[in-house]
Symmetry: C3
Subunit: 231 residues, 3 copies
C-alpha cells in the first residue's frame, strides 16, 4: 500500500521499508530510515539521519509492554525534520512544524501545526501538543501530557507524570502528566510536577519548581513556585 511520488526527491542512501507513503515535493536526505506506516505529506523535508516510524520495544526492563504492529506515523505538509530526529510509530506531526536536531518523540503523540520542537528535546508517549507551540532545546516533555496552543516552553524545562517516581508497582496505571493551557509561558529550567494544571496565559519563572496548580493569568516564581503577581 506504500506509494512514493515521482515528484519527490529521495536520496539513494535512504532506507525505505514497506508501506511508506511519500507525497510530491518531499525531500528525503541521506541515511534517513523510514519504517512501515510512515506517511510524509507534500513538500515536507526530512534531513539526514532521521528515523521515522520506529516501534517502541522493551527487553523486559520497562513497566509498559508494546504492540509489535506499526501504526501510522504522519508528517504534515511543509514540515521540516532536522538531522537525527527520531519519531516513533503512531505519532502525527502537523503542517509547517519544525523538529530540531536529535529530538525524539515517542509513540502516539499529536504535535500540531506551526510548532517548533527544538534540538535534543524528548517527548514521551501519548502526549498532545497544540498549534503554534514552541518547546526549546534540551527540554523534556513527559507522557500523557496535554499542551495547548501558543505555548512557549523554554530550554531545559523538566516535566514528569509519576508521583511515585517508579516506586509504585502499578504506577503505569495512574500516571498523570501536567496540563498546560493556551498561551502559557514556562521559563528556562523550570520543573513542572505530575498532574499540575497551568492556567491560560500564566507565566512560570525561570528555575521555578511548580508543585501545585497555577491560576490563569498569574505569574509564579521560586522553589516551590508561588504566585507573585498578575501577568
Amino acid at each position: 500500500m506504500g506509494k512514493i511520488s515521482e515528484k519527490a526527491t529521495v536520496a539513494a542512501t535512504a532506507v525505505i521499508h514497506e508501506d511508506v507513503v511519500i507525497e510530491e515535493g518531499v525531500v528525503i536526505h541521506d541515511y534517513v530510515v523510514l519504517y512501515p506506516g510512515t506517511v510524509i505529506r507534500r513538500g515536507a523535508e526530512i534531513f539526514d539521519h532521521c528515523i521515522l516510524g520506529k516501534l517502541p520495544t522493551s527487553p523486559g526492563s520497562t513497566a509498559k509492554t508494546y504492540s509489535s504492529e506499526h501504526g501510522i506515523t504522519e508528517i504534515g505538509e511543509e514540515s521540516i525534520l532536522c538531522p537525527g530526529a527520531v519519531i516513533y510509530t503512531g505519532t502525527s506531526v502537523g503542517h509547517h512544524t519544525l523538529l530540531g536536531d536529535h529530538c525524539s518523540i515517542r509513540e502516539k503523540c499529536r504535535v500540531g501545526n506551526y510548532c517548533i520542537i527544538s534540538r535534543l528535546v524528548t517527548v514521551n508517549y501519548e502526549t498532545t501538543i497544540g498549534n503554534h507551540t514552541k518547546i526549546m532545546d534540551n527540554a523534556h516533555i513527559t507522557g500523557n501530557m496535554t499542551i495547548g496552543n501558543h505555548v512557549f516552553i523554554s530550554v531545559l524545562v523538566a516535566t514528569t507524570n509519576d508521583n511515585s517516581m517508579g516506586r509504585s508497582e502499578d504506577a503505569a496505571d495512574h500516571l498523570a502528566g501536567p496540563v498546560i493551557e493556551d498561551d502559557v509561558t514556562v521559563g528556562a529550567g523550570a520543573n513542572i510536577l505530575p498532574g499540575v494544571r497551568i492556567g491560560r496565559n500564566a507565566m512560570v519563572g525561570a528555575g521555578a519548581v511548580v508543585t501545585r496548580d497555577v491560576p490563569a493569568g498569574k505569574v509564579v516564581m521560586g522553589v516551590p513556585a508561588r504566585v507573585i503577581r498578575d501577568v
Copy 2:
C-alpha cells in the same frame, strides 16, 4: 578473532570493523558502526545509527589522555539499543537492558541487567550502575560515580564529580563522583554535588540541590536540600 554468527541478522549497510563478535539471534539495523572489540550477545538488537566501541580521543583540550587500544565493549543478551546510542570502548552493558535514542556512555563503565538508560542521557567514564536501575531522559551521570540496584533517577538530573570545577590543575587526580545506594529515588531536575553519598532507600525531591550526604530512608528537598521526613 571476530566472529559473526550465521544466525544473526545484520543490515548490509552496517559497518563492522575487525575483531567484532555477533552472536546468534542478534539484529543489527541500518548504518550501525561497530568498532574493534565489540561483542554483542545472543538476541540483542541494535537499532539504526548506533555506534559501539568508539575510542575516547582528545585533540589536547582535555585533562585526561587516552589509550589508542580498543578494549572489550560488550552488550548483554536480549538488550536493546535505540537509534543513535553511542557506547565507548571498554564499557559493558548487562542483559535485558534498554538504552534510549542518542544516549552516550563513555569508556570503562559497567551498566547492569534490566536497566533503562533513557533517551539523550550522558554517562561519563568509569561509572558503575547496578541492576534494575532507571535513568530517565536528558539526565547526566558523571564519571567515577557508583549507582546501586533498583535506583530511579528522573529526567534532567545533574551529577558532578569535580568540586574545583576545572579550576585545579590536578583535578583529574582527585575526582569524586557521588555514591547512590540501592533503592534510592531522585526527582526531576535534582542536582547532586561531588562526593555526596545518598543512603539506601532515600528520596531526593524534584529540583533539590544535594550538597551533603543524605541518610538512608530520609526524604530531602530544597535548595540546598534538607531532611524533611522519613520515607
Copy 3:
C-alpha cells in the same frame, strides 16, 4: 572550488556535497555528510554520522527567516568531532577543539581553540566562545551570547536571551544573550537569564538562578543568586 587532499582519509560512505575542502591528514569516518562550503583543516578528525554545513531552515514557524546560501563552515587543525555532531553553515571551530557526541551548533558561531563543547550540548546562532573554554554535557548556550577564554560551564546549565519568552512580536530584534567574561566558572544546573554579565573570574554555584550582573571575582549562589563571598 572544492578540493579534497589525496593525503586525507575519507570513508567511502561519506557524502561530500560540492565546494568542500578537506586538507591533508584529515580523517572522515562513515556516514558523515558535508554540505557546501565546509572546510576541514589539516589533521582534523570527523567521526561517524556528523553533519557539517547545514543550512538553517524554517517552515514558517520560526521568528527568524534564513538565507538559502551556504557560508563557510570551518573546522580548525587537529580538532575532533565526535559521532553525530551537527554544525550549521557559517560557523567556525578553532584548532585542537573537541566537540562531543550529538552536540549541535547553529549558524554563524565562533568557537575558539582548545575548547571542549561536550556531548549533547546545544549552541544557538551567532554566539562567540573564546579559547580554552569548556561547556559540559547537556548544557544549552543561547544565541547572541559571548563567552570568554578559560571559562568552565558545567552540565545542564541553561542560558537564555529573550526576556519576553516569545511573547513580544518583535522579540527577534532585541535579543540579549548573557556575557560571560574570562575565567568564569558556572556550576551544574545553573540558570543564567538574558542580558546578564558575569564578571571575570566569578563563580556561579550549582543550581543558582542568576537574574542580575555578577561582579568580577565574586561567588554567587542561590535562587535568585546572591553574592556570598570573594573567590
